[in-house]
């Protein structure tokens, strides 16, 4: 039996159409002028015990609404949702016992207390017995050197240290599923890598199911075998990461600032690239904002360096940047049928 079972899940919100001005504010108090927003519009998937699933999509796609339904905060409008065979909303307290949640940069530990006291309180809240508590704390210590932070107040921790504490804390009561929301946001590369390895280790050690929502495709690449992409309340893709990996793994975007830029420059850039690299070159050109031109390159077909050299020698380029493909671009590509 799957750990999480979701079938035709829908969540609609009634949003008040607000009016302007003082009289509008008064009108809103009694207004019945609502419009319906379908945040989640009939999604279905199953998640098995021990999986790490990347749940991704652009802002407002319905990600956090789904997470809120899985954690029992929100009641679905329609459809079936079961975590460990039960509807989360019907008994939030009982379900909270089998879940761990880490939400972005907001620590759920006690701000003024030393780290170890937070863990001790969690031990009481989740009724973890002493032996288990000690075993888990020992493991966290081996994993992230937690004991060095024991006596520090949570408020004095760095963002990365706090995230490590929050993540390990969410595993303390040995939950069946842990929800991680943007666990690496705002952190530098080295600590990101650390956090990813800790998550991976905890998953391996305990066979804990992990649902990961993130904007950082690096997180997904490093941790997930399965990925679910959601946009506008619908699931765009649910399956093996390898296929998607080809999309953002191989693609890079070359951002160019060309001197004396005009519509004609854009046309000639497209033509010249087409003539030089042939038709099946995996290069797309688009003007993004006034002075910047994006050239997206499939490195599997054309090496980025060749394109860069070619452009540099044919155009007067003022500035160049190379960026990894963004979440929005992946979603766009999926829309365009890149995954067939």
């Amino acid at each position: 039996m799957s750990l999480i079972h979701i079938q035709n899940l829908c969540k609609h919100f009634q949003i008040l159409n607000r009016h302007e001005g003082l009289s509008g504010a008064f009108r809103d108090l009694f207004s019945a002028d609502y419009r319906t927003v379908e945040a989640v519009a009939g999604i279905s998937f199953d998640i098995e015990p021990g999986e790490i699933v990347g749940y991704i999509g652009p802002n407002g796609a319905g990600k956090s609404t789904t997470i809120k339904m899985m954690t029992g905060i929100l009641k679905p409008t329609d459809g079936i949702i079961e975590v460990n065979g039960r509807a989360p909303y019907d008994n939030r307290i009982r379900q909270a016992q089998i879940m761990g949640v880490v939400f972005g940069q907001r620590s759920q530990l006690w701000w003024d207390l030393p780290v170890i006291e937070s863990f001790k309180i969690l031990k009481e809240i989740y009724k973890v017995d002493q032996a288990t508590f000690e075993r888990h704390m020992g493991m966290f210590d081996d994993l992230v050197g937690l004991s060095a932070l024991y006596s520090q107040q949570v408020r004095t921790l760095s963002l990365g240290q706090r995230m490590l504490c929050d993540i390990t804390a969410s595993f303390l009561h040995n939950p069946q599923v842990v929800f991680l929301d943007e666990p690496t946001i705002g952190l530098d590369i080295s600590i990101k890598a650390k956090i990813r390895s800790v998550i991976k280790e905890l998953n391996r050690e305990r066979n804990t199911t992990i649902i990961l929502t993130t904007h950082d495709l690096g997180d997904v690449e490093a941790l997930c075998r399965r990925i679910i992409i959601i946009d506008k309340g619908h699931i765009l893709y649910d399956g093996d990461i390898k296929k998607v990996n080809a999309l953002f793994g191989a693609y890079r975007t070359l951002k160019l600032q060309i001197d004396d830029f005009s519509e004609a420059t854009l046309q000639s850039l497209k033509e010249k690239l087409g003539r030089h690299f042939g038709t099946d070159h995996g290069i797309t050109v688009a003007e993004v904002e006034e002075f910047w031109t994006d050239v997206t390159i499939d490195q599997a077909r054309t090496p980025l360096s060749e394109v860069l050299n070619f452009v540099m020698s044919n155009f007067k380029v003022d500035d160049v940047r190379i960026v990894e493909i963004s979440m929005e671009n992946v979603v766009r590509k999926v829309y365009d049928g890149a995954l067939g």
């Binding site: 919100f13 945040a39 802002n59 407002g60 319905g62 956090s64 609404t65 809120k68 954690t71 029992g72 905060i73 929100l74 939030r92 307290i93 009982r94 909270a96 016992q97 879940m99 949640v101 939400f103 907001r106 759920q108 006690w110 003024d112 207390l113 030393p114 006291e117 001790k120 309180i121 009481e124 809240i125 989740y126 107040q153």
Partner: protein
């Protein structure tokens, strides 16, 4: 489900640590306690000044007013000490940090309120108890065991009335962005609860007795001890009115926490 005893134990564990951590700011605690001391005596000062010029306030002598005021101070202390986090709801909502309170296997109101324990409120409680003893000695009130039990019961109920008013007002934050004025109004009303309700008539009397029943925080229950022979039948409800109000507030709180999540994306 957790039993009441389990919650109590958890509360003690959390607050012990919290107080330990707060003790780092000892100077702040001392200054705050002094502030609390003065602020809790302000209205009493006004009564004292007034009763220097006139013999009674609507028939109530200065010492009777001291008793009512002492009752009031004790009754508002639990709200101050245990429910002080209510003031922060609007900040948590504005900054999106309220969500975390949904994720623990605990009663949400318990978990939320347990995050703060206001030490300076103890000053209020102690001053209140001292004044109550002083006033009842001056008035030579006769304390039998059953009257003491009634005192504790009415104080408990009055404390619940006060808690209900403030927590219900703070729940406004779940629906409106700028909820401070609602809370500020509830807070201001609190100061009127030791006033003899007999000075009011019309809309004010009805409002303070039935709508926002601040009369039940101090004046009505005090009558049971000061002038037991003169009390109106309504006053006999004061030992139980707190429970009903708290139930209503708890319902509003639940509506609030459920509706708040509904607006997020």
């Amino acid at each position: 489900m957790r039993s009441l005893a389990e919650y109590l134990r958890l509360y003690v564990i959390i607050e012990t640590q919290y107080i330990k951590a707060r003790m780092q700011y000892r100077a702040d605690f001392i200054i705050s306690s002094i502030g609390m001391f003065f602020s809790s005596l302000a209205t009493l000062g006004i009564f004292w000044v007034i009763l220097n010029s006139v013999p009674t306030l609507a028939g109530w002598t200065l010492m009777e007013m001291v008793f009512i005021y002492a009752f009031y101070m004790i009754a508002i202390s639990p709200m101050q000490i245990l429910f002080d986090h209510a003031w922060q709801i609007r900040f948590h909502i504005q900054q999106g940090t309220f969500l975390k309170y949904y994720f623990r296997p605990l009663n949400m109101m318990f978990y939320y309120m347990s995050e703060m324990f206001d030490l300076k409120g103890l000053t209020q409680l102690i001053v209140g108890i001292a004044l109550l003893i002083y006033a009842s000695a001056q008035l030579s009130l006769d304390w039998t065991l059953s009257r003491l039990a009634l005192l504790l019961l009415t104080l408990f109920s009055a404390a619940l009335v006060q808690i209900s008013i403030v927590v219900a007002a703070s729940c406004a934050a779940f629906w409106v962005i700028d909820s401070y004025p609602v809370l500020g109004l509830a807070w201001k009303l609190r100061e009127f609860s030791p006033y003899p309700m007999s000075i009011f008539d019309g809309a004010f009397r009805i409002a303070f007795t039935y709508v926002i029943p601040i009369g039940f925080v101090a004046f009505y229950p005090s009558q049971l001890f000061l002038r037991p022979d003169e009390v109106a039948s309504l006053v006999y409800f004061s030992p139980v009115i707190g429970i009903g109000l708290f139930a209503l507030t708890y319902w509003i709180w639940n509506q609030g926490v459920n509706s708040y999540t509904g607006t997020g994306s």
